[in-house]
């Protein structure tokens, strides 16, 4: 690497945020290095398309090695990463942290639901006095959403639903037609007063920018070798590499940002995950995009005389106000679906419809005991059988023989699930910090998590239970999932917060462009900067914010201000 140094910019992490920044800044002519903790990964040759469960060990079922099943695209990670532990404080509620170790990060196996935040979502405190306002408005980010959607391709239809922005004409890809079960559910949703919207998914329903349209087969969470969904490794990094300006270094685990005596960042220090060798990459500007909590950890571990508690942490705000989503799923069986003839329900993997939050008026009138909403993602249909088929049978029912086959055939396709994705309000008791005792295999302090859902999240979760039960029973169905439990913190993998943006260095770690108040040539561009965690899944917003921040970096660099 030596010859090219110092780079103009070094980016830590290659997922949504890192990939987006690399794309924009390489195209803008900067010489960029991306350091990725995981291994190189090539979706072109490594994606299992049109799989046979029969060929996979254990029919592809989830194991401690592959937590989301054998064919899931996650490499070297999941709820545990070998050699890279984290801890949960003794008095904390249960917490789980999903991390992969691969080029492209979680964009290789994410769920591809791509929702914009709405105008309310940036000003939550002004609306109900809880949490914090963002230092920007929806209108500030709207052009960046447009830009990102044009680049990656997102389905949708103009809906005109409150706090659920429609992009300008020509930006959205046509949504796929609803599946049979979705038509059925739509009637139940509407009966209960909800508005059903076409899904906003980062999946191509027509060719875009040289990428092929979806083949309507194979789960997106396995990746996509036809590049028909959004992955950093198919959409962003190859284009960035095409400029000749990008150097990617894999297996480089960054542990600190190095600061000189004047308080400027000079680059980052890393360890090679295989050899354990230490290395440094020098650059004029440093971008953290390692995933929200990982970026916070790097800030905390970047201790120096100037920053004895870590960079940007003079107010003790790094690691604070971390958030996830209240993601809760109810499963049910709807017998009328049994009577529909066999058909192909694979479609674009995600649901083809969803239900945006619909009770803003009621909340305004104080009729609900929680102030923030959730949206509903319904799943179901005659999808590829998994080992879960055995769950169709009640353990108390002793059926076997021909009756058993009949029962399976009859029930196949009659199950649906309703997932609520709800807003969590940041709170003082939910944060991460460095663990004084535990270190990773290279001796770097790890994160210790503290998790506590607030009363409003619990109330919202109860509402989800109630409503999902009503939806299912209105269709003559029954709930089949067991007793409801409050979701585990972090389990939705909508990891945000920990280095939030704000109006000044007293209330935040970075400004609205991700520029660190304490170190002007250091930027945080991933979900760490989120001020709130609306019900809308975070990734599209991470991309938009990373793109906006990158444009700011380009502008400052060109003005010689970095």
């Amino acid at each position: 690497m030596g010859a090219q140094e110092p780079f103009d910019i070094v980016i830590v992490g290659s997922g949504a945020a890192g990939g987006m920044a690399a794309y924009d800044l390489c195209k803008a002519g900067f010489r960029v290095a991306v350091l990725e903790a995981g291994r190189d990964y090539d979706p072109g040759t490594e994606t299992p398309m049109f799989i046979s469960q029969q060929k996979a060990p254990l029919r592809g079922a989830a194991t401690p090695d592959k937590n989301n099943g054998y064919y899931d695209a996650t490499v070297d990670g999941g709820t545990t990463v070998p050699g890279e532990p984290y801890t949960t404080a003794a008095d904390s509620e249960e917490f789980s942290w999903w991390r992969p170790r691969m080029l492209g990060g979680r964009t290789n196996h994410w769920g591809r639901v791509a929702l914009r935040f709405g105008p309310y979502d940036f000003k939550p405190r002004s609306r109900d006095g809880l949490g914090f306002d963002w230092p920007m408005e929806y209108d500030d980010l709207a052009p960046w959403y447009d830009r990102v959607e044009r680049l990656i391709g997102v389905t949708g239809r103009p809906e005109g639903i409150e706090n659920t922005p429609d992009p300008p004409a020509g930006v959205m890809l046509p949504p796929p037609p609803p599946r049979a079960y979705e038509i059925v559910l739509t009637r139940a949703f509407e009966k209960l007063g909800m508005r059903v919207a076409a899904i906003r998914a980062a999946i191509l329903t027509q060719p875009l920018n040289g990428r092929a349209a979806c083949l309507y087969a194979t789960a997106c969470t396995q990746g996509c070798s036809s590049r028909s969904n959004f992955q950093s490794t198919t959409v962003l990094l190859p284009e960035a590499q095409g400029t000749g300006n990008l150097t990617i270094v894999c297996n480089a685990v960054v542990h600190e940002v190095e600061i000189d005596a004047t308080g400027k960042a000079t680059g980052v220090n890393f360890v090679d995950r295989h050899t354990g060798d230490q290395g440094k990459v020098n650059a004029r500007c440093v971008i953290l995009a390692a995933g929200a909590f990982s970026s916070a950890r790097i800030l905390l571990n970047s201790k120096s005389t100037l920053f004895p508690n870590g960079i940007g942490n003079s107010q003790g705000l790094v690691g604070k106000y971390i958030m996830d989503t209240v993601e809760f799923t109810v499963r049910g069986r709807i017998p009328l679906l049994e009577r529909l003839p066999a058909r192909n329900d694979d479609g674009i993997f995600t649901p083809h419809i969803y239900v945006p939050w619909w009770l803003y008026q009621e909340q305004r009138r104080g009729e609900l005991d929680f102030p923030r909403g959730y949206h509903i993602e319904p799943r179901g249909g005659r999808r590829m059988p998994t080992m879960g088929i055995g769950g169709y049978l009640d353990a108390q029912d002793a059926t076997y023989g021909h009756g058993l086959r009949e029962q399976i055939l009859q029930k196949y396709g009659s199950y649906i699930s309703l997932s609520g994705e709800g807003e969590m309000i940041p709170n003082e008791k939910t944060f991460c910090e460095l663990d004084a005792d535990t270190k990773d295999k290279w001796g770097v302090p790890v994160l210790r998590f503290h998790w506590k859902w607030g009363e409003y999240e619990v109330n919202q979760w109860k509402h989800q239970q109630l409503i999902f039960g009503q939806v299912i029973s209105s269709l003559g169905g029954t709930v089949t999932s067991g007793p409801a439990e409050m979701p585990i913190g972090g389990a939705a993998v909508h990891e945000v917060g920990g280095a939030r943006m704000g109006m000044s260095d007293t209330d935040s770690v970075v400004d609205q462009f991700g520029q660190c108040w304490a170190v002007e040539n250091l930027f945080v561009l991933d979900g760490a900067t989120f001020v709130s965690s609306p019900d809308k899944n975070p990734t599209l917003t991470i991309l938009a914010i990373a793109s906006r921040g990158s444009a700011r970096i380009a502008e400052l660099a060109k003005r010689g201000e970095l």
Binding site: P48, Q53, R59, Y216, G401, L404, R405
Partner: protein, 197 residues
């Protein structure tokens, strides 16, 4: 039936029933956190004895018989599936192994009690009666049946043939995804009308 029940297993070792727990300490590794997903391989050794494999085949065909169109489980490699599953080093599979090994043993014992010969020596009807007797027991015997059936239907319907048997029509490339056909829409409308929706 060429062997009697208490025979040597595939590796030449006798598996004493009570000693099963100590075999939990199996050190075979799993497939790791970065397996080849294009040409999958199962790295662990299969543990089931020939007798156990025959028991699995016989019981599977009783629990989920084939039809004129779709073969019985034993004909589509269900034994390999069970052998792989029950030999896997992961916790779920290890506890399944204990339960299923003990259950297969129980079937044989119950068979001897009722008919004086091992399960494999029985005709179809008597096999079913032995199974009924096991199902009628409580505790682990009942758990064994439920778990065996769970694994069996999972293994069967996730096989390539099982996809066809259950009527799964996907996993094929399409140019576009078609809206539901008029006849499906008609049925949906009729059903919903009956529900007042």
């Amino acid at each position: 039936m060429d062997r009697l029940p208490e025979e040597a297993n595939a590796t030449g070792q006798r598996i004493p029933f009570k000693a099963l727990k100590t075999r939990d300490a199996i050190t075979t590794a799993g497939y790791g956190t970065d397996p080849n997903v294009i040409t999958p391989k199962t790295p662990w050794d299969p543990l089931l004895s020939r007798h156990q494999l025959k028991m699995v085949a016989a019981l599977s065909d009783i629990v989920l018989p084939g039809t004129s169109e779709f073969a019985a489980p034993s004909k589509i490699g269900i034994c390999n599936f069970f052998n792989e599953w029950l030999s896997a080093p992961y916790k779920t599979q290890q506890s399944d192994k204990d339960l299923i090994f003990q259950g297969l043993d129980l079937l044989d014992r119950e068979s001897r009690r009722l008919y004086w010969v091992g399960f494999l020596w029985l005709g179809r009807k008597r096999k079913a009666r032995v199974l009924d007797a096991v199902i009628a027991m409580s505790g682990d015997a009942r758990k064994f049946f439920a778990r065996f059936r769970y694994l069996l239907v999972g293994g069967y319907f996730t096989s390539d043939m099982g996809f066809a048997a259950i009527g799964y029509k996907g996993n094929v490339p399409l140019q576009s995804f078609a809206p539901v056909s008029a006849d499906v829409q008609q049925i949906i409308d009729d059903e919903l009308r009956q529900l007042g929706l």
